[in-house]
Symmetry: C2
Subunit: 360 residues, 2 copies
């Protein structure tokens, strides 16, 4: 089912992000060293790319360069980017995917601009309102998909349902698990105000897609517990959860380091288990989970953290290659279309409930 990765091409927006082109070029190097098989199209200011490559070499038979003069600033509003960024690296990189010259694009740049430009150039999959930023979260069962993690701060119940459908199709395509378990992120207490929207989404989801293994509400600790495969939430909550998990991983990483260097015996013990510890360190590094696929677009777009270091960028490239090798776009399109075909007219009182929930 998976494509031969050496036939794939990834477009890389070299100019995006807080750490500049060097970090991106270094990230490409790391990814290639790690075994990345795709070709890379580096998009950005030729001179900046050349300068970065003079410090970190990239093989000419694996990379090509497309010059783009403009750069979308990290604080540009999306509307401004749409009007003024036609000559930018972000736009040109996205167009590589639009034209079929690349299987996907990776950018560390301004998220709002990336979403807006991608939406305009690649269009949405029919039936999906807005792209959702998703995160692949390590869990006790391997990985869980969490969406939305920051692209959609305010959502409707219908959008949560779309996220669920896309996340489930995405997970199915990536793992070939037949029935991914889907949950809506909530807090434990049952009858509190504020989750009327989530309750309504649960109801709509059950009716819209009875085939889905929708397990109901899950809590924050369930994301990594291995008991759920797809976790659906609004972008504000998802982003807070994601950043909190990262901060926790860093804190605990520091504690592990302290334990390993606490005294002479600890250091001796650590020396004996170097390979295990190296593997643990990489595992606990938030950079290793960097890379958020934007689901719902008619093309593969992976957003890397703005502050990404080369290790994080390499992770995003490897993720993009993995996604490009699997037919997740088709899975999402098919599933959304199937669900639409099966759509049941909701009775009027539910529509009233939806309006009441949205107004709350």
């Amino acid at each position: 089912m998976a494509l031969d990765r050496s036939t794939l091409t990834l477009a890389v927006d070299v100019m995006g992000g807080d750490n500049g082109p060097q970090a991106v070029i270094d990230g490409c190097r790391l990814a290639l060293d790690d075994g990345l098989q795709s070709k890379l199209v580096l998009v950005g200011q030729e001179s900046a790319i050349a300068e970065a490559r003079s410090r970190t070499s990239l093989p000419d038979d694996r990379v090509s360069v497309i010059h783009a003069e403009g750069v979308v600033a990290m604080d540009d509003k999306p509307a401004k980017a749409l009007r003024r960024a036609k000559d930018s690296s972000m736009w040109a990189a996205i167009d590589q995917v639009k034209e079929g010259a690349a299987n996907g694009i990776v950018s560390c740049g301004n998220t709002g601009a990336l979403m807006a430009i991608a939406r305009m150039r690649l269009k949405m999959i029919e039936g999906v309102d807005r792209p959702a930023a998703s995160a692949l979260w390590p869990s006790m069962s391997g990985k869980a998909v969490v969406l939305d993690v920051g692209a959609n701060v305010d959502v409707t119940a219908d959008q949560l349902v779309q996220f669920a459908i896309m996340g489930e199709a995405f997970f199915r395509a990536m793992t070939e698990k037949e029935k991914p378990r889907v949950g809506l992120l909530n807090i434990g207490e049952e009858d509190l105000k504020g989750n009327a929207l989530i309750k309504h989404a649960a109801k709509v989801l059950r009716e819209a897609d009875p085939e889905m293994d929708f397990i109901g509400f899950v809590e924050g600790n369930d994301i990594s517990s291995g008991e759920v495969d797809v976790v659906v939430t609004d972008g504000f909550t998802g982003n807070i959860a994601l950043k909190t998990a990262e901060g926790t991983a860093r804190l605990l990483g520091g504690w592990v380091k302290e334990a390993l260097t606490a005294n002479l015996m600890s250091k001796m013990g650590a020396a004996l288990m170097m390979p295990s510890l190296k593997k643990l360190k990489d595992r606990m590094d938030p950079a290793s989970v960097n890379g958020a696929p934007l689901l719902g677009l008619n093309g593969l777009v992976v957003k890397s953290h703005g502050g990404s270091e080369p290790e994080g960028i390499a992770s995003a490239l490897e993720l993009a290659e993995e996604l490009a090798a699997h037919p997740f776009l088709d899975q999402i399109k098919e599933t959304i279309a199937d669900v639409a075909d099966r759509a049941v007219e909701l009775p009027t009182d539910d529509e009233e409930t939806a309006s009441a929930a949205a107004a709350e």
Copy 2:
């Protein structure tokens, strides 16, 4: 400034929680073994307490028992609990504090009922609308206070401001740090809809308490970064963040264990550093941070996770003792009163902004 802990008394609601009286009695034992100096008043069904004590002994010179027949069920709605729980262990334990017979109360029981009963019996500190559940979060600078973590799902800007004031006074009382840094939890992107409330709260906070070291917006990873001391958010977001951090800690704890047992060399290395690892294990165990003080009540109430095991309950008791030894109630009362005295009349256009934000 801190009271002699051996002069303190803690009331313990033995009947609350998912794991029954035995877990609570075992938690008391662990806390005493750990060095708890307070006297304990065990409140609940005498026979159940006696049975649990027959398995786990508690010294008669450190504990006393108050019989209460009723038990608040974990799924009772708060209103029902208020009407029908007068004979419950939760009510009687709270009344120990009300009557001054105990310096604080610890309960694993139904959070909503605990808040409702505590509010009715202990009353609120003047100037505070609703109690806030706070969490003491380990961070790179020691600890950070996060509130609200689940008691208030929907909040107004004014309530967020009250949380900030209480959290800051609480932190100041517990650490004697003169100017705790206070932040409002938000996501990185600036001009997204959905944080109008938070922006308004930031504005009101700066005007209401210019003395406070309010550092502005912080993200999820900042909670444990050591760059902030008090993090303010609504109860939904706070609870998701808290549970996500717990789940992450469990996941990473599993990875550490895997690394230490991966092969013979790893196990040998682990054997050399047993004391360090024991300390690390306790540090990473979410049970060690169990215990949420409910701030804003006119008395010390510590909520323990409903599913608390004895280790978690012991943590909650130790936390309650620590809090009872410090004058945090007085600090909160004084600071709230000072801020009220300094209150500036907000001009009409701000009130309009507030209405617009609330309606959004």
